[in-house]
Symmetry: none
Subunit: 192 residues, 4 copies
């Protein structure tokens, strides 16, 4: 194993261990020392790759966009609604897969940082949904009276609202059911 491979492996080990611990004990209880002990790495090593736990979380969370992007490549959608549905559904599925504690961590980390990456407009999901809605407008399904951006944010609000609700209920609600219900109604609502 080359040095570079070793470095990547250590980095990934930190991410994995951090997510594991977050799921176990909750974001605010996980310390850097915890992570290093469990990952069998030195504290110095941690600081070599990241400068704080939020950054680890950020690293992890960023992978969502790539996964969404990868998934899209293999598919074509005849109708814009199908693509919107695919994007929202896959996003929800990712959340369910990682567990509510991880979403809770992401949300609560946003409360301490100025740069809310969760909400950065350049994010892939944002960009793509905007395109999808434009397509809906182009084919006349969606009226022109509301701004595309507004509609996109509305859709995202519904998805995030469902996730937020799920997290606040400690994962005890059925995220897929409520999430799909909510965004479907929004998509329906867009078409009047």
């Amino acid at each position: 194993m080359t040095r570079q491979e070793q470095a990547l492996r250590s980095r990934q080990k930190i991410i994995d261990t951090a997510m594991l611990l977050i799921e176990e004990k909750g974001y605010s209880s996980v310390t850097i020392k915890d992570i290093c002990e469990k990952a069998e790495l030195s504290i110095g090593a941690f600081y070599h790759y990241f400068s704080n736990i939020a950054e680890v979380l950020f690293s992890f969370y960023n992978q969502y966009d790539s996964i969404l992007e990868e998934g899209l490549k293999e598919r074509g959608f005849e109708r814009w609604q199908d693509e919107a549905d695919y994007l929202c559904r896959t996003y929800l599925e990712l959340m369910v897969k990682n567990g509510w504690q991880v979403s809770a961590a992401v949300i609560s980390s946003q409360f301490r940082i100025e740069d809310k990456y969760l909400y950065r407009e350049e994010r892939f999901l944002n960009r793509r949904l905007t395109e999808v809605i434009e397509r809906g407008k182009a084919c006349g399904d969606i009226g022109d009276d509301e701004e595309t951006e507004e509609l996109c944010w509305w859709l995202l609000r519904s998805v995030r609202g469902a996730i937020f609700d799920w997290v606040m209920h400690d994962g005890k609600t059925d995220l897929m059911a409520t999430g799909v219900h909510d965004y479907s109604m929004v998509i329906g609502g867009m078409m009047k």
Copy 2:
């Protein structure tokens, strides 16, 4: 001023000062010492009334229900939609009035507590919206195919989703606009 009045005043002083500081610096930056210094009370006095800052927040937040309840007493609503609208709108107005930092505080405090008072079903808003939806069902506006409870949670999700979005944007979005938009669509959606 009797001793009892004095005690109540001290308690309220702590609540007010805490909310003030939260609005100024954000929940996680406010310390008990901060509150005591600004309120000109000793740390011991703080612990005489509360056991932590989250409890102060809880005390404050609980007043919302009373405010909603008071407001309702003075009004009668011919149509159930009007009452639903009143409840959701007033709730949003309260949030706007207190500032996004306070909502942020309430949300992030929920992440550390097991007993999520924000979501306790017996809360007045919950109870009342349930009744309102029942009324809508009774007069035939709302179909029977979805459970009242489900519909109520859907409505609340939309309101809370908007608040969450607002908080995540550091209060830079227009909560009244998005909130009213979202819950109105849900009320509309309930009636098919």
Copy 3:
């Protein structure tokens, strides 16, 4: 009920509540506020009767001597051994009756006070055992080569050693069995 009766009743209430709490949570965990809340008396009232918890304990513990004294009045002992046995046995019985937590409290309170009442020589048990041993010497059962005081302390050491052992085992050993065994051997030892 006269004022005086009321005062006595409050005082006794404090003692009883304190002992109850000590048995429940252990001496070092009981606070004055605890006692007052449970006894439904004000903190001021506590300070009216006692100046600290150790004093309450002392009050309680002092009753031992009176109980021992009372018990003796009703009895005569033909043999000095019988009286020694009675004194030691009754003392152990009192300990068992109050529970190991109370003995633990008494012992650990002694660690913080200069004036070790537990060991004050004028205590009734001390005085009486000294007399008993003198009697043993007078009738020739006990030799003159060891000082009466030394013998008395030896006997007390054996009783207290058993109590200490019992406390250190969280009351799980059989105090009556070990205690009687030990002091009997000492009494036997005194007679060579």
Copy 4:
């Protein structure tokens, strides 16, 4: 000096300083800050090695067993009584050497901990005395009517009773005299 040696040295420095301060001011008056200041280490360093003062005490106290064990290796005892005498005497000598305040600390720390290491049966002294008594039984010096374990506990009670008495008298009694007297009588008593 390697880093590892340095670490060990810091750890030992904490133990030594803690014991010094306990001897000076008594267990309950020594604070972590005190220890760190005197040891010229940071509070963080303390918590790097221990989680509280009781743990330091435990570390220190544990060394007793090794000392006893070391001492035994260099000796052979023809008679079991001599070994019993050696064990008890050396134990008492260790107590005297460290001062009554240290014993007081050990005892009073036991009142707050569930796991009473002072009394754990696997301790060296316990184990060894059991063997010694077995030897006494094997050569017919001690009868079979009492359990070895009971006899062992009796002997230990006498030693500990003397130590306890000494501590309760603030070290003003002559521990070596009373201790040797008491355990000798017990050893004598075992042989009838």
